[in-house]
Amino acid sequence: MGSASFGSDRMNEPRARPLRRLANVLGVDPWLQLMRSPPPASSRKCGELIHGLEDVPPPLVVLFQGFQHVSLVRIQLIYPALVIQLADLPTAASVNMLSLALIALGIASILQSLPRGPVGSRFLCPSCHTGIFLEPSIAALKLGGLPLVFGMTIVAGIIQAALAPVLRRIRPLLPPEIGGLVVFFVGTSIAAIGCRYLMGVGAEGPVGRDYWLVGALTLATTVALNVWGKGQARLLCAAIGMGVGYVVAMLTGVLPGDALHVLSDLPFFALPHFAHGGWSFAPSMLVPFAVAAVAITLKGIGDVTAIQRINDPEWVRTDMGSISRGALANGLANMSAGIVGTLGLTPSTASIGLQAATGVSSRVIGFAVGAILMVLAFLPSVTGSLILMPRPVMGASLLFSACFVLISGLQTITSRMLDARRTIVVGLAIASSIAAEIIPNWASHIPSALEPIVSSSIVLGTIAALLLNGLFRLGQRQRVTLALDPAAPDAPAQVDQFFDAAGRGWGARPDVMVRVAFGIKQAIETIREHCEPQGPIVVEAHFDEFNLDVKITYHGEPLELPEQRPSERAIMETDAGYRQLAGFLLRRNADRVRTSTKDGASVLEFHFEH
């Protein structure tokens, strides 16, 4: 299996590199390519994928890949396990709730993989539990117990399902830096909970040397495997770290021996029962869960975009149809999660990384993942150990997860050009979030109805960001114009300053703005040298998050934009060749170009995908 896959890799080397980079970014080791199976004789594959979206791999491959995804998804059961522990339920009821969580995960995976219809991203897109719902769920648990957690999870699902069809239209209100901010806030929230658990703050039992030793060894093992580990060990570092934590906890008595007897009493096979305490709803929890719904929607945009790129080597832009259907599927999955009785779900980023690393993205595996998860729901002894997870183990695992969530958020925030307005939005939102986290009773004079907003770092930071972004959008022009004197010696500098300011105002991607600035400077230079322009050269630019269009209007000879580069000899010896080289560069630099004449003026239009 291994040798065949490497042979295939060499053949596809040029296309393999971007996916490997994506796999690395997503934190999954390319070692997993060893698990690829030989490509089938006939299938529609994209790039170097061994089993593409529409392929039906051999049953063993489906099963093996299915278990790989399930092993990644199961790690995130730590979030419902934590809330279940806080609810202090009897062991049997706790284990039953984890079984129900597995059923919800199975439904979510199948919904995302549906090949047609209005629901589902139509990709292999397993779901997992997420820290995004942790803080609001804990707050709901304290306020109204598990029924309120489940009821509000249903509400979050309804909100996400309602957002799904209008995602494209509301995208300007949710720019990438706000998505990054929300992820960052979630990271700080998980880190704060992780630190409390790791240090034993609020623990019921004794906290001392043994307690801290369990946490330290769990964290050290997880980090060491992630940094220096290889292959499977690195991929499953969190699960292995938890395992080490359990063992040390048992040896030191942090996990009492009699607790384990409870596990041995669990049946190997049992039907999960859906009788939980029902559902309840509270208006005061609406905002925190609405923010969580927005946050997982924003995260989902990034996740489904990543899957699109894996499945399409020629990917140039986000397919919003797939993203909207994926968001709808996630909304329905969260409604079902609340109905069966578990926390909210989101697409599993680790599973996306696994696809990039293995080159196996067949949709069929999504159904296999769903089926495996549902079968596991009938095996309480397999998942029961999660209920007993010692607090320091949980704290170490949460802290480890928080590292990646925090940095992912920061990277997204800084992936765009930020002007003063956007800098203030980001800065004030972070300051608000930190205030809610570290200053006790900081908002004691605020009406109690607003308490769920001001007491949550995620909610307060996100609301601050959304309000400030909405405020600063007032007067923010999406269309900007520059009139250039062709004879001005500083015309290139004017173009640079113009597009730098516009890019910061729009929050544009820096790499796209560099391309735009080159194209306009090259065009101005060529028009000035070869087209005898009369009067000013007018540059108009329009931006809408997905498209950046620039129109140059001048009175002078139209530019030629050849598809073939002129010969070296022509470039060096003739004005026509030199001019054609400029036109060739302009054509290749933009995603689309067009020349025309209007009212006696020459018009040069560039389109850049954003």
Partner: protein, 112 residues
């Protein structure tokens, strides 16, 4: 545009700074050709401090390459990274020149 010249044994190194466009390309090309015509047999042009190159800059480099070939001299480019590298790629110029990662690589290549 600023040009800084140096020698590494018998190889001339020219570091270019700033913009390589229609206002600076002539000065840049003329200086390189004068070096070739004065008998410098091997020249490494370091572009790592160039932040913009237009069609005029590519034309100057092509003319310099032709001059070195005519004089049986050798030319290498280095520091072709980032945006300048992208422009070499979209202009299909990466195969037209001997491009080395660093000055030392360029000197080593030309001294072979």
């Amino acid at each position: 545009m600023k040009l800084v010249e140096g020698m590494s044994e018998d190889v001339t190194i020219v570091e270019a700074y700033g913009r390589l466009d229609s206002t600076t390309a002539k000065e840049f090309g003329d200086r390189l050709i004068s070096l070739v015509q004065s008998g410098r047999g091997a020249i490494v042009v370091d572009l790592k401090n160039i932040d913009y190159i237009s069609s005029a800059g590519f034309r100057a480099l092509l003319i310099t390459k032709r001059a070195t070939t005519e004089k049986q001299a050798k030319l290498a480019l280095c520091g072709v990274t980032g945006e300048v590298k992208r422009l070499f790629e979209i202009g299909a110029f990466t195969d037209e020149f001997l491009i080395c990662p660093t000055q030392a690589d360029g000197v080593g290549k030309l001294r072979q």
